[in-house]
Amino acid sequence: MTTDQHRSSAAFLFPLLQFLMVAATVYVFFSNKFAPPAAITAAGAAIDHQYDMTLAVTAVAFVLSQLGLAYVVLKYRDHGQKVEFSRGNNTLELLWTTLTAVLFLGLAVLGHSAWASARMFEPSLDAVRVEVTENQFVFNFRYPGPDGKFGRLDPKKIDASLGNPIGLDSTDPAGTDDIVVPTLTVPVNQEVELLMRSQDVIHSFFVRELRLQQDAVPGLIVPVRFKAEKIGHYEVVCTQLCGLGHSQMHTYLDVVSQENFAAFLKNGGQ
């Protein structure tokens, strides 16, 4: 065999590093130093709860296995002992397999409602509908106006320089009252339904405080919904690699009072 087996510093250094790594990791994760800003929706809070449960389970698994590894490395370093021969233990195998399966699948099932509430829904009649159009490298938000109907769009009519970035078809009367703006304004405490679409490549829409992320896919209109419970000014970023200007593609979400929102619509988006 190789030489110098009985005094390897690795036997002590490896467990020490494992311990330090575990301590540092657990500390930073639980200290919330790098937490996202507080969620402003109930759905977001549910997601945070799911995250916390997952963190609890994984933290236990992490600490036990990493420190377990440190322990066996230290204890069973070659210091002249006899090997406790074993080929395995079927009972143990069954036990930890079952335990792991229950834990992991349990987590998956418990997380269902947090997912379903934002994604699996029947359109609600008093949801504020906003169509989100993304393209390289801007966001445009369209409100249907007092008639409650979105006007027809025609890609051939797209001309950003002429002030028609999403191609509103002027021959459709339903579109004359549509409001198209570059930032998203929504009323507080009211259901909002976003209809995500794209004009060129796949983009995405992400607001940390909403805990909501959704790709905008050309050829599809994908609905997502949220109900913001806190007035404020929030950053919206594009998270799907969309080309050269990906890092610059961002806009803002303004959650305003119901009166301010009514005024916003009345003033055509000011």
């Binding site: 021969f85 074993s86 080929r87 395995g88 233990n89 079927n90």
Partner: protein, 225 residues
């Protein structure tokens, strides 16, 4: 001696498999029979295994294309216009089936030791394969002259991709048939390597697969491609 064996092989500790101690099974590199041709290195059965594995991989490739095609058909608001397969495809399909039949005949001749009979039916298979490919090219010609191109709409796109991919695989089969036919008349390399029997068997496996694949694709086009 037997006690010593069991001492090592089965310690008293609860165990899963890992020990052993059975006498070794007969090894490879020995075709174990009365045959005078003994290959070394790769056993003959391996070529068959290899071909079956290859057919698995090829199937996944075509399954991916088929799934993509099914997705396109089912997409809401899609402009899927089913393609009417050119009528010549009925002819080529018949040619494909015929080529498999001639191949079966050729192999019977081989097993019976009828050299010239084998050669004739084997070559007939290759020729039918070439006729099939010509027919496919004619089908493309017909589509183009009717103004139906690769980019016209998705169903046409898939049609061209399927026929091209299948045709390439069939061409590979034709080349294999020709190579085996040539070897059979000019002599096989001594050892190691593939034996004539294995070569014909493995080539036949591939060929019948390609025929079957065509029949599947053709039906696919007919039911709504």
């Amino acid at each position: 001696m037997p006690e010593a064996v069991s001492d090592i092989e089965e310690p008293a500790v609860a165990l899963l498999d890992g020990g052993g101690g059975r006498p070794p099974d007969p090894g490879f590199g020995d075709d174990g029979g009365a045959g005078s041709w003994r290959p070394a290195g790769t056993p003959q059965s391996t070529y068959t295994t290899g071909m079956l594995v290859a057919l698995g991989g090829i199937s996944m490739f075509f399954m991916a294309l088929v799934s993509a095609s099914v997705v396109h058909r089912g997409m809401p608001g899609s402009d899927w216009v089913p393609l009417h397969p050119p009528s010549i495809l009925w002819v080529t399909s018949a040619l494909a089936v015929a080529s498999s039949l001639t191949l079966v005949r050729a192999r019977r001749m081989f097993k019976a030791g009828a050299e010239s009979g084998f050669s004739r039916w084997w070559m007939a298979t290759a020729v039918l394969g070439v006729c099939f490919l010509s027919g496919q090219l004619l089908a493309w010609r017909q589509l183009v002259s009717a103004g139906v191109y690769l980019a016209s709409n998705p169903s046409v796109g898939f049609f061209y991709v399927f026929t091209a991919a299948h045709g390439l695989h069939l061409l590979g089969g034709v080349i294999a048939l020709l190579w085996i036919g040539w070897r059979q008349s000019h002599g096989w390399r001594k050892s190691p390597g593939i034996s004539p029997g294995t070569a014909t068997a493995v080539a036949a496996l591939y060929w019948h697969f390609v025929t079957g694949l065509w029949l599947f694709l053709f039906s696919f086009f007919l039911i709504g491609g």
